[in-house]
């Protein structure tokens, strides 16, 4: 644990002369590839661009909220900015991020397979993502969409701004998500290496599997819903329009039937990353493997019946409200099972202090804090007070930014050597990680206080008494942005000049580390045969082995 950047491998690390990155050359070979690893790298570049854009829009929102009056923009521009921020971050970044990048790259490797079940369909998913992203982005920027990412009817069907291209974009992005999920489910069912039973799959695979089920089952409904809003907007068919006998609350039901499970599309993969990485940095077997695996499925299942908690104040019957509240709290039970098992995995481990470790600690804090406030907002009486205030915004960002981004960054650092064969600078990695965890807290803890004091969401002006906390939040967000810029710089440097990583710099027990870094075009030179349970860092009775990573 002394020098974090020191390599544990005794042999000099080798960079394989021929690997998936250089096996074929030229832009065309990338655009027509069916190699899951190359598709993952293209997803990585795409989602990082989306993240950058979404981040810029977020900063615009935060800068505007520095003063109680108009700071740099008026009401309309502000509405467009938070819409851009929401749509880009949710549909272009968070939903595809971990499944698209790490799911694609690692799922076949972790299963010991040569590729996903349907490689061409996988490429089609990426193209659909690009098409949907282009449509949604140009639509929002040219048309000035101001509905927020939720597209609530009847405002969305009556706003003078352009909406149809955005809705079509989201519809197409949905298909990309469905096809990815379908591909992953079939891959897990049919392409496991010899010896790999279901109980020998790594926990990241379990998480991706549970995510894929939600993607396949929930996404068609949002696809249809946004299409109906589009038809309503263009054709005036009256389905969600009360003046023509339609019911806008029906829209909310259909929207949240997808969009609540969609929260788990975003957070489950992140939980999977943490489960895998936590064992590697603690040098311990995962505590409660089956519990973590099954609780992923539990969250996926319960998540489908919790959507009504978004609608406590939209005129549901008290019985519905109560039922949705109780079901929502079950999500907390499954999440708590995971958190206890993660903490037990860390307990008496030989924890290596690295950038992923800091992200894991951040993740655990944000997950617990965000989860607890989730239970709080699922309580009807409290939700009536907090509904549509910054409290909900803060809760949502604790899970979505806190948990999901921490998982994404932990995974990015942990698997970076596997993907590109080079190491990032651990010192800078830890500096950036600390900045991000700190900046994140500084951004969103004030928002809890603001919401509790009654500041509503989605307004560009606010009473003067809220200014202090808003300035604190904006200051925190610049810290956050600064942390991300540091990461970008050292990762690009690592890509070009970084030290060679060797096959398994973390001395991980994951199947994905059994091949070279970066892997061969066909993943493994010989199909691996699985003889051990996953995450087996020590045999029964063995002491925890201290390893310098």
């Amino acid at each position: 644990m002394s020098q974090p950047n020191q390599l544990a491998d005794k042999e000099t690390p080798v960079y394989p002369a021929v690997n998936y990155l250089n096996a074929d050359r030229g832009v065309w070979s990338w655009l027509t590839t069916v190699d899951h690893k190359r598709i993952a790298v293209m997803y990585l570049v795409s989602v990082l661009i989306a993240f950058l854009l979404g981040g810029i829009f977020a900063m615009a929102v935060r800068v505007e909220l520095l003063t109680p009056d108009a700071t740099v923009m008026g009401a309309n521009t502000y509405n467009r900015m938070f819409t851009l921020h929401g749509v880009v971050m949710i549909f272009l970044f968070m939903i595809p991020a971990i499944p698209g990048v790490f799911g694609n790259f690692l799922l076949p490797l972790m299963l010991g397979a040569k590729d996903v079940a349907f490689p061409k369909l996988n490429l089609l998913s990426l193209y659909l993502y690009w098409t949907g992203a282009t449509l949604a982005l140009t639509g929002m920027i040219m048309g000035g969409t101001d509905t927020g990412w939720t597209f609530y009817a009847p405002y969305s069907t009556s706003t003078p701004t352009t909406l149809f291209p955005v809705l079509l974009g989201v519809f197409i992005l949905g298909f990309s998500s469905i096809l990815t999920g379908l591909n992953f489910i079939v891959t897990v069912h049919t392409l496991r290496a010899p010896g790999m039973g279901w109980m020998r799959m790594q926990l990241f695979v379990w998480a991706i599997y549970a995510t894929s089920i939600i993607q396949v089952l929930a996404t068609p409904v949002i696809g249809l819903t946004v299409l109906l809003v589009g038809i309503e907007k263009v054709g005036g068919f009256g389905l969600f329009d009360p003046t023509k006998g339609g019911d806008p609350v029906l829209f909310q039901h259909m929207f949240w039937f997808y969009s609540h499970p969609a929260v788990y599309i975003m957070v489950l993969p992140s939980m999977g990353v943490i489960s895998d990485v936590i064992a590697a940095v603690a040098r311990k077997n995962v505590f409660g493997y089956k519990m973590i695996a099954y609780s992923s499925l539990g969250i996926a299942f319960v998540g489908f019946f919790a959507w009504g908690h978004h609608m406590f104040v939209s005129g549901q019957s008290p019985f519905d409200n109560g039922a949705f509240a109780v079901i929502s709290m079950f999500v907390g039970v499954f999440t708590a099972i995971k958190v206890f098992n993660w903490v037990a995995t860390l307990y008496r481990g030989a924890i290596a202090v690295t950038a992923p470790t800091i992200y894991i600690c951040g993740f655990l804090f944000f997950m617990v804090f965000g989860g607890m406030t989730g239970i709080a907002v699922a309580t009807i009486s409290l939700d009536v007070h907090w509904h549509d205030t910054y409290f909900v915004v803060a809760h949502f960002h604790f899970i979505m930014v806190g948990a999901v981004i921490m998982g994404f960054l932990a995974g990015l650092h942990y698997w970076f050597p596997k993907m590109f064969g080079r190491k990032y600078h651990e010192g800078w990695g830890m500096v950036a990680a600390s900045l991000i965890v700190l900046g994140f807290n500084a951004t969103f803890i004030p928002q809890f206080l603001l919401g509790n004091a009654g500041m509503p969401r989605r307004y560009y002006m606010y009473p003067e008494r809220f200014q202090g906390l808003n300035v604190a939040s904006t200051a925190g967000s610049s810290l956050l942005a600064f942390g991300f810029i540091i990461i970008l710089v050292y990762l690009i440097y690592a890509l070009l000049r970084g030290d060679l990583a060797g096959d398994n710099p973390w001395q991980s027990k994951g199947v994905e580390w059994m091949t070279t870094s970066p892997p061969d075009k066909h993943n493994f030179h010989e199909t691996p045969v699985i003889t051990e349970d996953p995450h087996t860092y020590q045999k029964p009775g063995e002491e925890v082995e201290h390893v310098v990573i």
Binding site: K114, H189, T190, L191, L217, P220, V221, G223, L250
Partner: protein, 216 residues
């Protein structure tokens, strides 16, 4: 691995599968999952139907009577027959009867076309009457609240279904091309099976739409 294989690989076996059985299993599973997503796509519209039927019970009942039951029934028979013929086509190719399979697939596609033509006549009639969705509604026979919504749902569900009929036809034409070229036979017929499965789904959706829109 594949280069060291001594056995000849199946011509349609992709590189990342070991055996054709495994590949067949994978594509079947993929197709069933895809059919699941299709059902969920329609589920949203069925939900809309249920909600508005509940809101405007009387009007929906009244509006339902104005649909052409004869044409609807004929279309149902046409689709069920086509489902039978596609199942027989699958059976035929499984037993190596290529000509019979081609004939049955042609018959299925003719049925699909027939369905669309009849549906077209129904649509034309509704257009002429002004029984149109939402803001375009000016049908005089049914004027209760929610009458426009019945026709919104009528056109959205049957329209989405008609779109699936067209997609299903294209899939079957693509399958036919493969049968024509002799790609499929007793040892490899999964694409015919999957095309048939998709066609059954198109049929099944109609089996639910017909009573909901025309009968009750």
């Amino acid at each position: 691995m594949s280069s060291s294989d001594t056995h000849a690989r199946h011509p349609y076996l992709a590189e990342h599968y070991e055996t054709i059985e495994k590949q067949d299993h994978a594509v079947r599973l993929g197709m069933w999952l895809f059919l699941g997503t299709e059902v969920l796509l329609f589920a949203g519209l069925f939900l809309g139907y249920t909600v508005y039927r509940h809101f405007y019970h009387e009007t929906f009942h009244e509006a339902s009577r104005t649909l052409n039951l004869t044409l609807g029934t004929i279309n149902t028979i046409v689709l069920i027959t086509s489902s039978l013929s596609v199942a027989l086509a699958y059976h035929a190719i499984k037993h190596g009867q290529r000509q019979k399979c081609l004939g049955l697939l042609t018959f299925t596609i003719i049925c699909a076309l027939g369905f669309l033509v009849i549906k077209g006549f129904e649509y034309q009639h509704k257009f002429a009457e002004g029984a149109l969705p939402g803001q375009f509604y000016r049908f005089h026979e049914v004027t209760g609240p929610g009458a426009n919504l019945f026709f919104t749902i009528y056109f959205l569900t049957t329209g989405l279904h008609a779109f699936h009929v067209i997609v299903g036809m294209s899939v079957l034409i693509w399958v036919m091309k493969g049968v024509w070229k002799g790609k499929y036979g007793p040892d490899y017929y999964v694409p015919v099976e999957l095309g048939g499965l998709y066609w059954h789904l198109v049929d099944l959706v109609w089996i639910f739409l017909f009573p909901l829109l025309y009968l009750i």
